[in-house]
């Protein structure tokens, strides 16, 4: 009987330790995302501040804790570790985040846990620069139209400029006749273009139904995907995230895009690494972007609205897979 009680107590203790460890890790991740991701990544490269992967192997726990708690104090004391870092990161000091002692502890625990996970995993391979693709439609049409008009304008200006070599009086009445034709042709072209292109606007109609709805919360400097709305930083802890967004080819997806901090862009780059659709991610609003993923490929998402120092690092992926065949 005594053995059974001891065993049960031990099991309970282990389970509670496990739960505690998991909740600490979740708290740490949340805290890191709320307080640190604007300037730091773990394994994603330097932003405003250094990449923190491996930081717990480079620095002692005591030093890390004191720096996270009061970076301004170490800077004022011209700490020998801080000063070269400050120089390396262009004299942009880490602000004092006014964290409680328990929060500092949670963050350091989280960084240690991340480092031990990373040590077990294979090192990431940096992406190699890719070759320039061929220009797709309709972008190629825009460029061709622009170049054609530019050539016409250049030819007209050169012709008019050269005409001054042989000065003569001008038949103004005839010129005004040409202007009238120019006006009619120009206005007609503008109206035709308006009528033809306004219905092609990418805005979701009121009754539009997608095969799948994905909520996107943009923040400095990443995108969070979820099947449920994320409207504030606090939601990050409550709402399950989609770590790897995968959709089947042919799926019509509705992205409901918002932001948790500043205005961002949400631009989808297709198989040819050119824009297929985009919208803005604005705090306080959900923009509905409907996209049918026709081609199986790895689609990229880039932020196209400047959002501070890590803007160019802000990206995500959507894996579009071959649609599974139904039936024999």
């Amino acid at each position: 009987m005594r053995r059974i009680v001891l065993f049960a107590a031990a099991a309970l203790l282990s389970a509670s330790a496990l739960v505690h460890a998991e909740s600490t890790s979740a708290d740490g991740q949340l805290l890191f995302e709320q307080k640190c991701t604007a300037c730091h990544t773990i394994g994603g490269g330097a932003r405003v501040g250094p990449d923190l992967q491996g930081v717990t192997t480079r620095r002692t726990r005591e030093w890390l804790s004191s720096f996270i708690a009061a970076p301004d104090r170490l800077i004022a004391a011209r700490d020998p570790i801080v000063m070269p870092l400050l120089k390396q990161f262009n004299q942009i000091p880490m602000p004092n985040l006014a964290l409680a002692e328990s929060e500092v502890r949670t963050l350091v625990d989280y960084l240690e846990a991340e480092d031990s996970t990373a040590a077990a995993a294979a090192p990431p391979v940096p992406a190699a620069p890719m070759q320039q693709p061929s220009l797709i439609a309709p972008q190629s049409t825009f460029l061709t139209l622009f170049l054609a008009f530019t050539v016409v304008i250049a030819v007209v200006f050169v012709w008019i400029g050269l005409s001054t070599r042989l000065p003569a009086s001008v038949d103004v009445k005839r010129a005004y006749g040409i202007r009238r034709v120019f006006f009619i042709v120009g206005t007609t072209a503008a109206v035709v273009l308006l009528v033809a292109t306004v219905p092609l606007a990418p805005y979701a109609r009121a009754g539009a139904r997608a095969d799948r709805v994905v909520y996107v919360a943009a923040r400095q400097f990443d995108f969070v995907f979820s099947d449920e709305p994320i409207t504030s930083a606090a939601d990050l802890a409550q709402v399950p995230r989609i770590a790897n967004l995968e959709v089947a080819a042919g799926t019509l997806v509705e992205f409901r895009v918002t932001s948790l901090d500043v205005t961002h862009g949400f631009a989808l780059y297709g198989a040819e690494r050119q824009i297929i659709a985009q919208t803005q991610a604005m705090p306080g609003y959900f923009n509905r972007l409907l996209v049918r993923f026709d081609e199986p490929a790895q689609y990229k998402v880039f932020c196209l609205e400047y959002c501070a120092a890590g803007h160019h690092l802000m990206q995500a992926q959507v894996a579009v897979n071959q649609q599974e065949r139904i039936g024999p």
Binding site: A127, F157, S163, T164, V172, A190, T197, A267, Q278, M282
Partner: protein, 474 residues
């Protein structure tokens, strides 16, 4: 020489110093994007902010200075207000430099809410930036109101807007430059007042802690920014209307069509800014459509009336080509070509592929650098030459113009091509998928250097005339 003319000479010097510095910043930005100057990469976004605010500001004041001087043919601006404009602008520029260089402020030239509060720069640099804009905005509002006052002293508002031409009367004669300046200044006052509102909302949030609506702030910010940039362009066009006839030996007068055209511009320019919010899908659809209609509509008076009129003025005219007339003629071509890029981008279904790619700086650089800048520096040369009356070196002047044209259009081409491929604007480094953007950036630095060289030749040609004019000043 009166005091307004001496103010103009100061503005020429300010433009001549600031513009090359801002070009160098542009070269710096493209060099970093090309993969160079890695140790200075973290300065990219602060310098991008300075380059953007600086260029918009420099060309606004340069165009206003030109127009202030040109208006003296017809009305009397207050010289003291002109001097206040110089002092206020220099003070604003000083504050701007301090917040960027000491605070690394980097929220971009249109400081899209709430980014100024949420960047890696310290709060004080945001405050300094807002104060800088307040000083500049208040100064420019005062300057615009004084010019409007001067116009109103000679013409009634209906006359200055040439409404009597609509009724078939041509008396009193209103020069096109006065009409266009009036239209531009009214739009300018509206823009600057909206700037006051947006700044007030920033201050309220800063000091009272209340938060603003991001969509409303974006609307007001772009009404301010878009209108200011457009009216700056129109001020340049006013200078061309005034001066190009002198070189063509033909008149270019206001008539009913010109009056209709520029009154339409006044209405159109106030609603065209909606095209900046196409990708904000929550903006009411009717406003998006108005944005496209207004953007298309703005091209018609520009192309059918102004550019056609200018071409008619020059066609087989006994033209006196010098640096002024060449640059003004080229400026009209730049305005037209940039307009084509803008009209394509203002089509909603095209904007979804081009928004915030390099296509955007492509088109506004075309009509600002190869359009407005050419018009204004052409006018500055014209003024200096009128005051100095020195013999002209046609060969050197053609070299200057050729270098600037090759440089400018090379820079634009790199923007347009990369933009069509979806290379984003405002990226300090391109991701692996878009790494080829660096190739365009590298080529652009060479073209920008050629432009700078051409501008230095221009400065040498204009500078010696400017010096003589300064020495002749009482």
């Amino acid at each position: 020489m009166n005091k307004v003319h001496s103010n103009t000479l100061y503005w020429m010097a300010i433009t001549g110093v600031l513009f090359p510095v801002l070009i160098l910043l542009g070269i710096f930005l493209r060099t970093v994007q090309a993969g160079g100057l890695a140790p200075l990469q973290s300065w990219f976004y602060p310098m991008m902010t300075l380059h953007g605010v600086g260029m918009v500001g420099v060309w606004y004041v340069a165009a206003m200075a030109g127009v202030s001087q040109m208006l003296t043919r017809y009305v009397e601006p207050t010289p003291l207000i002109g001097r206040v404009a110089i002092i206020g602008t220099l003070l604003g520029v000083g504050l701007l430099l301090a917040c960027v260089f000491f605070g690394r402020y980097a929220a971009g030239w249109y400081f899209l809410y709430p980014l100024p509060f949420k960047g890696e720069w310290p709060q004080w640099s945001t405050v300094l930036f807002l104060v800088s804009l307040t000083v500049l905005g208040a100064t420019w509002l005062l300057w615009s109101l004084d010019l409007l006052r001067a116009i109103a002293k000679r013409y009634t508002i209906s006359q200055a807007l040439a409404w009597h031409y609509l009724a078939g009367r041509s008396e009193p004669v209103v020069p096109p430059a006065v009409l266009i300046t009036t239209v531009s200044l009214i739009a300018g006052v509206a823009a600057l007042l909206s700037g006051v509102v947006v700044l007030a909302l920033f201050y309220v949030e800063l000091f009272a802690g209340t938060s603003n609506d991001a969509l409303l702030m974006k609307n007001i910010t772009f009404f301010f920014g878009h209108t200011l940039v457009n009216l700056t362009m129109y001020l340049g066009v006013a200078l061309v209307y005034e001066v190009l006839p002198d070189y063509a030996g033909r008149p270019w007068k206001t008539n009913r069509i010109v009056a209709i055209s520029w009154n339409c511009v006044l209405l159109i320019v106030l609603v065209a800014y909606f095209h900046h919010l196409y990708m904000d899908f929550v903006q009411p659809g009717v406003l998006q459509t108005i944005g496209q209609i207004a953007s298309y509509a703005s091209a018609i008076p520009a192309a059918v009336v102004t550019i056609f009129g200018a071409l008619l003025l020059v066609y087989r005219a006994p033209m006196r080509w010098n640096l002024a007339s060449i640059l003004m003629f080229l400026g009209l071509a730049g305005w037209a070509i940039g307009g084509v890029g803008a009209v394509i981008d203002s089509t909603i279904s095209a904007n979804v592929k081009l928004h915030n790619t390099l296509w955007v700086p492509a088109h506004f650089h075309t009509y600002f650098l190869a359009g407005l800048c050419f018009m204004v520096i052409g006018y500055f040369y014209h003024c200096c030459q009128q005051l100095a009356e020195q013999p002209e070196n046609r060969g050197l002047q053609r070299i200057a113009a050729t270098l600037m044209v090759i440089g400018a259009y090379g820079v634009f081409a790199m923007f347009y091509f990369a933009g069509a491929f979806g290379v984003p604007r405002r990226y300090s480094i391109y991701p692996a998928e878009l790494a080829y953007g660096a190739k365009y950036a590298a080529a652009a630095t060479g073209f920008a250097a050629a432009f700078l060289l051409g501008f230095i030749v221009y400065l040498a040609e204009t500078g010696k005339r400017w010096l003589r004019a300064v020495r002749a000043a009482p």
